[in-house]
């Protein structure tokens, strides 16, 4: 297989396979969750479930001041890498082309050097996240194989993307193929790991907000 063939495979059949596993996995998992259902709350409400749930979906993005103080490194590094991931994935022109091709619409991209800078920030913050995970005793205690795997698979597209953009080491088709394949790997493990939180956190936050909101507490 030549590198262009590999690239074409990654852009074609590889992506098909990854898409099938990703979409099927995500859809099945979300339906699995929702179908477990929740008993209706029979207690007299003190607040609204729906609006509180929706509010918490957004508000949980920002920690309260004291919590931030106590976990500032975890939170800061988390912000950087999530924001970086978001920008590198959603704001890079070639990626937007891909998205537009799949979902039918796109949006303006950020200037490439900006995205490039964010890629570096994201990679650095992911490294910081790992160091934190291995040195913070709570995180080290909680860490399992899945955490390390997802860390690696999240980092991989960033690194391959960065070196593919800067054309370091290998020939361009190989680099691009590696980048695409690393993303496909990420897509494949996505539904079966904690990466699912990208979708389920909205459910979780809604439930949390709804449970508290029903009792009149903004959570």
């Amino acid at each position: 297989m030549t590198e262009i063939e590999l690239l074409n495979w990654a852009r074609g059949p590889g992506l098909q396979i990854a898409t099938i596993i990703f979409v099927a996995g995500v859809v099945i998992r979300i339906i699995e969750i929702l179908m477990l259902g929740r008993k209706p709350n029979l207690a007299e409400a003190k607040g609204s479930e729906m609006s509180a749930g929706l509010k918490t979906m957004v508000s949980r993005t920002v920690p309260d001041r004291a919590t931030f103080k106590r976990s500032s490194f975890t939170i800061t590094a988390g912000y950087f890498f999530h924001l970086g991931l978001f920008i590198t994935f959603f704001m890079f022109a070639p990626h937007i082309l891909l998205i537009r091709d799949v979902i039918g619409f796109g949006w303006p991209a950020l200037p490439t050097p900006v995205v490039d800078a964010f890629a570096v920030i994201t990679i650095i913050s992911l490294l910081a996240v790992l160091v934190n995970r291995l040195t913070n005793k709570v995180m080290r205690y909680l860490t399992n194989f899945g955490d390390l795997l997802t860390w690696f698979l999240t980092l991989a597209p960033l690194v391959t993307g960065y070196i593919a953009f800067h054309r370091i080491g290998f020939t361009a088709p190989t680099l691009l193929a590696m980048h695409i394949l690393s993303v496909e790997l990420l897509l494949i493990v996505f539904p079966f790991t904690k990466l699912m939180h990208a979708f389920t956190l909205f459910l979780a936050r809604w439930y949390n907000g709804a449970i508290s909101g029903y009792r009149g507490v903004a959570s």
């Binding site: 030549t2 262009i4 063939e5 690239l7 074409n8 852009r11 074609g12 059949p13 992506l15 098909q16 898409t19 099938i20 979409v23 099927a24 996995g25 995500v26 859809v27 099945i28 998992r29 979300i30 339906i31 699995e32 929702l34 179908m35 477990l36 259902g37 022109a93 070639p94 990626h95 082309l97 891909l98 091709d101 799949v102 979902i103 039918g104 991209a109 950020l110 200037p111 490439t112 050097p113 995205v115 054309r167 020939t171 361009a172 088709p173 691009l176």
Partner: protein, 372 residues
């Protein structure tokens, strides 16, 4: 260059050195050196080497060249004959003994084939074999010459060749004949011949001076130029179009033409979004250019189609950006989602059944049930 001239010179200049042949044709040593200065620079040879090369070339014996055309469109030959250095084609054709080229030679039919066989016998082990076009390996009957299948002819001709130069994307990678669904089972030269040095000069067509440059190298040193992992001369294929593209700064800044006639296109912005394959295409178009250095596709406002790369025809379309999938992912995603939804509902129902079974077998926990 005309066919007549080639054939006319055929007998006369088969023997003798290149220097003698040039002299006979009235080519001064000065113009000879000038030509070689340009070739050498393309070959990235140090200027100090020039006299050496020139001397070597003058004394080189004109090798016999057999040119086989298989599943091809003659574009490569067309390109070859349009080498832009005005005297280049003459020089080259004078420097070699083109003993067989069924498009260019005057002879036809049995005479032509006889010339080929004769050249092969006479120069066994020494002749250069140039191939354009792919070989139908699936069903050799798709392409035959004088009743001989391409496959057989290639194998036979390869046996006595000193080296093979695969010219054009078809012979180097299978090219358009090999494009999906590849009805003829087309393959490249390299997939059939494993025991001879092969120089791949891909491109659809290749840049003429690249072809002549490779020949010049062979003539000068009697060896093949340094090749990369795909068998291509590093000199010409060492950098991608993207790396040398004059529109690269726009790419780096993220300034793209969105359509062929928008502001960006007029301002000469990067054509990535219009499907340019420059980033993954290794060729010299951006530096050597075409038609006597006049222009190249990107300069003309058209994205690179990646013609010198394998499978360029199957890359999902010339106007689909590299970052786009080559297949319809949306459809896949929608169908998968529909199927997965059904599967998810089934799994969800199983979960519910499991949970209600748990509720059913639940025995009320009383204060007497709190200890083992």
């Amino acid at each position: 260059m005309t066919k007549d001239k080639i054939m006319q010179d055929e007998g006369k200049i088969r023997q003798g050195t290149l220097g003698e042949a040039l002299n006979r044709q009235g080519v001064s040593r000065r113009s000879f050196m000038k030509y070689f200065a340009s070739t050498a620079s393309m070959l990235a040879l140090p200027p100090a080497m020039l006299p050496v090369i020139a001397r070597a070339l003058e004394q080189a014996r004109r090798p016999s060249v057999i040119w086989l055309s298989f599943q091809e469109c003659t574009g490569c030959t067309e390109s070859f004959t349009r080498a832009h250095t005005s005297t280049l084609e003459n020089l080259i054709f004078d420097a070699i003994s083109l003993d067989y080229h069924h498009t260019l030679q005057a002879a036809a039919g049995h005479a032509a084939e006889a010339a080929r066989v004769a050249a092969m016998e006479e120069n066994y082990g020494e002749y250069l074999l140039v191939v354009d076009g792919s070989i139908p390996a699936g069903n050799p009957g798709y392409s035959t010459i004088a009743g001989i299948s391409n496959l057989d002819m290639l194998k036979e001709a390869a046996k006595g060749a000193a080296a093979i130069i695969a010219v054009g994307t078809c012979s180097t990678y299978g090219g358009i004949p090999q494009a999906d669904p590849n009805p003829t089972g087309a393959v490249s030269v390299g997939e059939i011949i494993k025991d001879k040095p092969i120089v791949n000069v891909p491109g659809c067509p290749p840049i003429p001076v690249v072809m002549t440059g490779v020949l010049a190298h062979f003539l000068t040193f009697g060896t093949l130029p340094e090749l990369d992992h795909l068998g291509r001369p590093k000199t010409f294929y060492g950098k991608s179009i993207h790396d040398r593209c004059y529109r690269r700064p726009f790419y780096d800044k993220g300034l793209f033409a969105e359509t062929f006639d928008d502001e960006g296109a007029k301002k000469g912005w990067c054509l990535f979004k219009l499907g340019c394959k420059g980033p993954t295409t290794y060729n010299a178009c951006a530096t050597v250019k075409w038609n006597d250095g006049t222009s190249f596709p990107i300069e003309a406002g058209h994205p690179c189609i990646g013609c010198s790369e394998p499978d360029f025809w199957d890359g999902g379309g010339f106007y689909r950006a590299l970052s786009m999938p080559t297949e319809n992912i949306t459809k896949t995603a929608v169908y998968t989602a529909a199927g997965a939804a059904a599967a998810g509902v089934a799994l969800g129902a199983m979960n519910r059944a499991k949970k209600s079974a748990s509720n059913k077998i639940h025995i009320k926990v009383t204060i007497d049930d709190l200890e083992k």
